[in-house]
């Protein structure tokens, strides 16, 4: 990287009004990181006007006075990428929160810097190239067993292609040189990358494999692809965080980056206490081992909140570049947008819609564009799936953050307060939600689940749609006035909702439901439906059908781990009951 000639340039503070301060006499580029005041608080240049530079400060500015020094580091806001990321919890600018507790106690004071990685810890580096091998940006030169995950050590994307002059094997810190190239470049296990610059890839590809989450309404009806984007908007208390956490726990990604952006402290604590105890259903290893957490809670500095999503996505891209499938949850992107709004208003920029800066839409789309299934620089394939929570004021989806997000993302999981109030969870509205990946994922479902699956899904969606129409009539005339066949539709729709769609995140078994169980459940509901309509056509009354007993046991299937014998039993009973009914007419 070229040296920034502005490095070390010094000036003085002129004005302080909250997290945004002005300084004069400093030579700086946009987004240079500067040290503010005697305490050297970290800040970033976000505006330059004439002599004056405007800085957003990542820490509390109380007590800072005009006249205090400001020094340019000449560097952009960057993260450290290397072994030690996994299982860490960072603030918005990649300071490890565990280290901050050691350095300053239980409360976050200011003026303390802490590198993202542990520079003293030794890792066992195993080389994967030899002297004389040609390497280029993104090449894997070796690996480290970081947790149960293998951390691949990459040639930084901004290095030049070259030949390996020497490479070591053994135990090193992230600062030790493990490989030297013939052009003189010395490589360590770590490199830095500026968070606001997307890491380069060879090619973006179209996603065609679903990210399986174990959540029936998601996998079954509105799947997201690996490398895809999804938004989950909803009013407070509707289930954004629980859904995101369910994805962080159970989705079949190899790496999870979870960003708590301007949300609650206790929610992060919950993840920290729970994840080490939970097992990845695929590998059987503690979930924490594949997880990186970023926690910039609502009461932590707002400028660092703005940076947190960039810190998160850069880490996600880094693991993608190793060839992993990464999923990133951002809870909540609205708090990020509000941080932008707060900073923008302090800059006295011309506000756009609802006071948000005019560049809101551009920032959102740049962020989601960093998702994708890609061919990495080294030719492997990796992906970053991005799932963003949106917290619309008053639960009204017509506001700018929701609207601008929906223009970009391909999957929309619409949370609905009406559903959450009656404890229908996940409170995802099945009529308003959509997935634009359905078609490209059809093949996968055909192949991996069953050729029948896509048909079953369409059938279920039709029943639910039909129910919505019928409910309007019921509201006017009552359910008894419906024709017989439609009374059955109402019942079948209820079964789809209560048995398939409702899923309890807090039940030990129901919290995760694999595709084959999803398929079995839906198939059985469909079987009931077929039996019911056939019987009705043969003259059995809806009352008789509704009072059959075996179907009442179906909801219990959710709570049973080895459900097959019970499901077979129910299916058998159901057939018997219907045979009896039909022969009675």
């Amino acid at each position: 990287m070229k040296e920034n000639q502005k490095q070390g340039d010094k000036g003085v503070l002129k004005r302080i009004a909250g997290p945004v301060v002005a300084a004069v006499g400093v030579n700086a580029h946009m987004y240079d990181v500067v040290k503010v005041g005697h305490e050297e608080l970290m800040g970033e240049v976000i505006k330059i006007q004439g002599e004056e530079i405007i800085i957003q400060v990542y820490e509390d500015t109380s007590g800072i006075r005009p006249g205090e020094p400001v020094e340019n580091t000449g560097l952009s806001l960057a993260v450290e990428l290397g072994p030690g990321l996994l299982t860490s919890i960072y603030d918005g600018i990649q300071r490890p929160l565990a280290v901050l507790v050691d350095k300053m106690g239980d409360f976050i004071e200011r003026g303390v810097s802490a590198p993202g990685l542990d520079h003293a810890k030794k890792w066992n580096f195993e080389p994967l190239v030899r002297e004389g091998d040609a390497v280029k940006p993104g090449s894997i030169i070796g690996q480290v067993q970081e947790t149960n995950i293998v951390h691949r050590v990459l040639v930084p994307p901004n290095a030049e292609p070259a030949t390996v002059r020497s490479i070591k094997s053994g135990s090193f810190t992230v600062d030790d040189v493990v490989c030297t190239l013939d052009n003189g470049t010395e490589l360590t296990m770590m490199h830095k990358w500026p968070v606001r610059v997307p890491r380069p890839v060879t090619e973006k590809m179209n996603p065609d494999i679903p990210l399986i989450t174990g959540q029936r309404i998601l996998d079954g009806l509105f799947p997201i692809a690996k490398g895809g984007t999804a938004a989950i908007p909803g009013p407070f208390g509707s289930g954004k965080t629980v859904t995101q956490q369910q994805l962080a726990k159970w989705s079949d990604a190899e790496i999870v980056v979870y960003i708590g952006c301007g949300e609650r402290g206790n929610e992060m604590t919950e993840v920290l206490t729970e994840f080490p105890e939970l097992e990845d259903p695929k590998t059987g290893k503690p979930l924490m081992e594949r997880t990186v957490l970023i926690a910039n809670t609502s009461n932590m500095p707002v400028a660092a909140r703005e940076a947190s999503v960039y810190t998160g996505i850069t880490i996600a891209e880094y693991f993608r570049d190793m060839g992993y499938d990464v999923s990133l949850m951002a809870d909540s992107t609205s708090r990020w947008a509000e941080a932008m709004r707060e900073i923008s208003s302090r800059l006295e920029e011309m506000p756009g819609e609802e006071g948000y800066p005019a560049y809101l839409a551009a920032r959102l789309s740049e962020f989601y564009e960093r998702a994708g299934l890609v061919e990495t620089l080294n030719g492997s394939s990796g992906s970053v799936s991005v799932i963003g929570a949106v917290s619309p004021p008053g639960g009204d989806f017509s506001e700018p953050v929701t609207q601008n997000t929906l223009r970009i993302v391909k999957v929309f999981w619409a949370l609905d307060a009406k559903l959450s109030q009656r404890r229908h969870f996940p409170a995802i509205n099945w009529l308003n939600s959509y997935s634009l990946y359905l078609e490209s994922l059809n093949d996968w479902y055909d192949r991996e689940v069953s050729p029948e699956w896509n048909v079953l899904r369409s059938w279920a969606m039709e029943v639910l749609q039909k129910e919505a129409e019928l409910q309007e009539i019921v509201q006017l005339v009552g359910s008894d006035a419906l024709p017989e066949a439609e009374q059955l539709t109402i019942e079948v729709a209820r079964m789809i909702r209560e048995i398939f769609l409702q899923q309890n995140a807090y039940d030990a078994v129901d919290t995760f439901c694999d595709m084959s169980k999803q398929y079995d459940m839906m198939k059985t509901i469909k079987a009931f439906s077929d039996l019911a309509y056939t019987a009705q056509a043969a003259g059995v009354t809806p009352q008789q059908i509704l009072s059959t007993k075996a179907k009442n046991d179906l909801p219990q299937i959710k709570f049973i781990k080895d459900y097959k014998p019970e499901l077979d039993r129910i299916m058998g009973e159901m057939e018997k009951e219907f045979n009896a009914l039909r022969s009675s007419v």
Binding site: A17, G63, R65, V101, D106, E270, A295, S298, D480
Partner: protein, 463 residues
Amino acid sequence: MKEYRTITKIAGPLVFVEKTEPVGYNELVNIALYDGTVKRGQVLDTSDDLVVVQVFETTAGIGRDSGVRFLGETIKMPVGKEMLGRILSGGGKPIDGGPDIVPEKRLDITGAAINPYARASPEEFIQTGISTIDGTNTLVRGQKLPIFSGAGLPHNNIALQIARQSKVLGSQEEFAVVFAAMGITKEEANHFMDDFERTGALERAVVFLNLADDPAVERIITPRLALTTAEYLAFELGMHVLVILTDMTNYCEALRQIGAAREEVPGRRGYPGYMYTDLAGIYERAGIIKGKKGSITQFPILTMPGDDITHPIPDLTGYITEGQIVVSRELHRKGIYPPVNVLPSLSRLMNLGIGEKHTREDHKKVSDQLYAAYAEGNDLRGLVAIVGKDALSERDRMFLEFADLFEDQFVRQGYEEDRSITDTLDIGWKLLSSLPVEQLVRIDRELIQKYHPQFRGAAKAAE
């Protein structure tokens, strides 16, 4: 310390001062009037030659002749164990005629954020004795659970009943109440004080009173003083502290007033765009810290303007707190106390504090089932109004009746009635047993066998 007599402009609660020496952001400011009274303020904006000061009292009496001193430090609160049993103004000065507080410490009132890594998960069940809370919206120690109410509803009584009855089963630890009033009437304040005195809670309480006729801008610091005190009691003295903040609506109005005076671009309904962050700075000051004995549990009370839960004040609060207890005008009109509408109410930390280890194994499922059944019955009420009861199916009629029973037996209880969690859950089961067993789809078979009155009777008979 230099005194400036260079006030150039006074607008609302803001005072503009020209100065020569550097002044720190957020620094404390004393403004001395001609008659010797001193008013306090805080630096909102500081540059080479001009400082904007926000005064925490009325600006009445401040003029260009007033003397301004910058104290060189941010606002601190003197705290000490002696504060228990004392009544202070909304600005933190004793108003009970007692002696000044001898501080053991002086703490910054803004309060630093608790490092999420240092937090411990709240999970100790607090029994409030109120079924709609314990049974369906369980409170745990270290939670922030606001009461969303409306003008004229009995939220104060609910808060008092909670404060009076709350206990952690099987624990004898030291507790304290910090009560912060912001802009409530003298009458309301008396209601609280009388109850505290009657039950002896006052000895264990620190009371901050900013009443309706006290300066509105002072409300900005009242909750911060209260929480600073609470943090001291909890994290330095190891007490379990219950903080009641009322009424947060008045706090937000004061915030809006200052925003307007600063000529900021207003956000929704004129409230400042940073209100979320500002409120988070208050509500997040609750919780438990690993390795420390005490805890802070917060009960903010707010009145929803126009009973509108989407109004920015309840909306932003709900986005920060760990649930909400919603008081309903409709239930109040029906004569039901406590008129808690469980449907929009929520306790997000409930799952951590219930179940076998904390309350009873069936708690979660019973609660879910009560919700589902009540929601269904409640919906049907609308339908009945249109098509009449006769058009309902038999199933629907059962749910309709269930909703009435639920309100009458589960929700309704006495102001002095302290129900144990077992009583609450048993009432729940009794109500659920009015529905056919196969309708209880939220509960697993084993629990039904064990707790459903029908089978319990059978099990007993078999013995």
